[in-house]
Amino acid sequence: MAAKRPTKKTNASADELKAYYKDMLLIRRFEEKAGQLYGMGLIGGFCHLYIGQEAVVVGLEATAKEGDSRITTYRDHGHMLACGMNPDGVMAELTGREGGYSRGKGGSMHMFSKEKKFYGGHGIVGANVPLGAGVAFADKYKGNDNVTFTYFGDGAANQGQVYETFNMAALWKLPVIFVIENNQYAMGTSQQRSTSSAEIWERGKAFGIPGEAVDGMDVLAVKDAGERAVKHARSGDGPYILEIKTYRYRGHSMSDPAKYRTREEVQKMRDERDPIEQVRNILLENKYASEDDLKAIDKDIKKIVNDSAEFAKTSPEPAPEELWTDIYATEVPQEA
């Protein structure tokens, strides 16, 4: 990894660190539970877990303000939890129930929250990139100072529409932050086997878009870089690229045996670079929190996640009439 090693110098307060720990742990436990429910047959289809990548979205959400938007691909559960969507509604969407964010009609890959300005949840690799630039276009058109976090993976970074979007976003100075979550594998194909450049963010230079590589296992490094990106985009200087070098511990989806990498590679990352462990250590070393404090957080998270699973199991399936609703809007959707 070319990314910087985590620094012990923190740019966050004890309370902020505790919040990041809690937010990352919620994503991890939620995803583990989702994997479990998938195993039980309660979640169907495709289910892409975010385990290992938690610091990316938690670090960036720490830089967002009210009014900012976010959009991502199908590995979206972490983004939804991090922007404050209700775990019950997310889990119930995974089980395809009435209590889900899309009332069971979207599933794991297609979820939205108008309230949180979360624009999905998109199943077509790369398609969310121009969509995110479009949301940013709307903000610029309306003359506000909101920015849009547009997340995509190292795999999507090879789609042509990404570069069409880079061109227009730079040309029109759109307030968009392109977040490349480089987890090193586009499904089963490593970056080395699919991507001509070692540093994907450098492709932005061809369009005059500044950017940087970031250690995605270090939530503080992510936050630090995120602040630079947000400042740039919010002040009207146009897009910014963050290539966040991260790692997914699980397979591409639940049905991926992940034979394209060794067990040792995954274990090494877990042992040495885990984003949650890193924050845990900072909290303990600086005496920001005691073991008991952290145990209490763990317990709270476990309850939130278990409750969401219970809700997702007991929420009824959508009524058959739902098949025919939401195909056409009858009135103008209000601005999100």
Binding site: L42, E164, P257, K313, E331
Partner: protein, 457 residues
């Protein structure tokens, strides 16, 4: 409390698998993320990780066991400090992991009816005595857009050459001068990208009009028209959608060859979530354009280059709109129903004139919008004439006419005195040579021949 570890489903279709190998033994402590065993499915061998921490109290399924059903208990996990004997009274981690999806199958979706087809509306488009002016389709489209841009500042136009060049086909002539470069935006030649940005802008609260220089180029953007624009309202449970218009010339122009001459009516008509308009006259071009811009859904607006210069009467009123889903009867008749739309109407009306000279009285219906489609008006007309010919420029297989025919078969079969004939373009890519192009295109004579066939004349 001890919990059972269940055989997981590791793919969307897995029902059972082989427990290939245990990597832990009874008494081992595991924590979340530790690999406990390997499971073979029909597709791959997968590692199965622990989700909770605890001690493996008992292994219930020996390694090498084949055909282990999903949700069978394969081991028991004890919590910290629990005795191994607790393993015998373990509760399932998922007592209600019952096959809930079954409920959907039991609920007889067949009983749920799709919304009813539109009712026939025979009111005229404008009241008698309305002042009319003559306009080309080109001017009518521009006026429709300009009026809506004056009405709503969130409406903007983007596309290749729409601003400074004044439109590749001069549809946006004058709009840059009136509305400025914020609202009339030249894009690079990058259909996939700007269609996506347009959809995102619609998500973000604007009302984009995305012009494609021709619909042939929109093939590069069709993913955003379908997957991003048409499906989002449904996928979001009604939370957000894409209120916008995709527009441009569709179908054959003249001598531009195979890649610039396709009619996409049947393609887009198929997609739930899209509305599809394909006007013939200038008044419909204007009235439908205004309705399309106001519509809270994504609208595919199929124009035609050859029609741009044709002139028609257009009501000279302040706010002229035409509703979607309402066919227009251009000519009443009793012997045969000719159903068409867009440039196909040229052939339909010309054929009807000539047929009248031979004593065949044709009723000519202009669908105007293909989705929603006014099938009620078609059925009503066919019940009167007992014969039907459909006319369109697109290819025969999977055509708009094919769909209309199936509706007539299901709803008015007993009224038919002859098979329905679909007049279409020929089943070939559009050739360049003048003589071949003429042969590939639909003609008035094709329509006349079809009418004579269904009327046994």
């Amino acid at each position: 409390m001890a919990t059972e570890i269940l055989m997981p489903a590791l793919s969307p279709t897995m029902e059972e698998g082989t427990l290939a190998k245990w990597l832990v033994k009874e008494g081992d402590t595991v924590s979340s993320g530790d690999i406990m065993c390997e499971i073979e499915t029909d597709k791959a061998t997968m590692e199965f990780e622990a989700v909770d921490e605890g001690v493996i109290g008992k292994i219930l399924i020996a390694e090498g066991t084949e055909g282990v059903k999903v949700n069978t208990a394969i081991a028991v996990l004890l919590e910290e400090g629990e005795d191994a004997s607790a393993a015998d009274t373990a509760s399932s981690a998922a007592p209600d992991a019952a096959p809930a999806p079954q409920a959907a199958a039991d609920s007889k979706p067949a009983e749920v009816k799709a919304p009813a087809a539109p009712k026939t509306d025979t009111t005229p488009d404008w009241p008698e005595g309305t002042k009319l002016k003559t306009q080309t389709v080109r001017e009518a489209l521009r006026d429709g857009m300009a009026e809506e841009m004056r009405r709503d500042e969130n409406v903007f136009l983007m596309g290749e050459e729409v601003a400074e060049y004044q439109g590749a086909y001069k549809i946006s002539q004058g709009l840059l001068d009136e509305f400025g470069s914020k609202r009339v935006i030249d894009t690079p030649i990058t259909e996939h990208g700007f269609a996506g940005i347009g959809v995102g802008a619609a998500f973000g609260g604007l009302r984009p009009i995305v012009e494609f220089m021709t619909w042939n180029f929109a093939m590069q953007a069709i993913d955003h028209i379908l997957n991003s624009a048409a499906k989002t309202l449904y996928m979001s449970g009604g939370q957000m959608g894409a209120p916008m218009v995709f527009r441009g010339p569709n179908g054959a122009a003249a001598r531009v060859g195979a890649q610039h001459s396709q009619d996409y009516a049947a393609w887009y008509m198929q997609v739930p979530g899209l509305k599809v308009a394909m006007p013939y006259s200038a008044s419909d071009a204007k009235g439908l354009m205004k309705s399309a811009i106001r519509d809270p859904n994504p609208v595919v607006f199929l124009e035609n280059e050859i029609m741009y210069g044709k002139s028609f009467d257009v009501p000279d009123v302040d706010d002229y709109t035409v509703p979607f889903g309402k066919a227009r009867i251009w000519r009443e008749g009793s012997d045969v129903t000719i159903v068409s739309f867009g440039i196909g109407m040229t052939y339909a009306l010309e054929a009807a004139e000539k047929l009248a000279e031979e004593g065949i009285d044709a009723e000519v219906l202009d669908l105007r919008t293909l989705r929603p489609m006014d099938t009620a008006s078609i059925i009503k007309s066919v019940m009167k004439t007992n014969r039907c010919v459909t006319v369109e420029e697109g290819w025969p297989q999977g055509s708009v006419g094919n769909y209309i025919t199936s509706v007539i078969m299901q709803e008015a079969f007993d009224y038919l005195d002859a098979p329905v004939i679909n007049c279409t373009g020929k089943d070939v890519p559009m050739p360049y040579a003048a003589n071949l192009e003429k042969l590939a295109l639909l003609t008035t004579d094709d329509v006349i021949a079809a009418v004579k066939k269904v009327t046994y004349k």
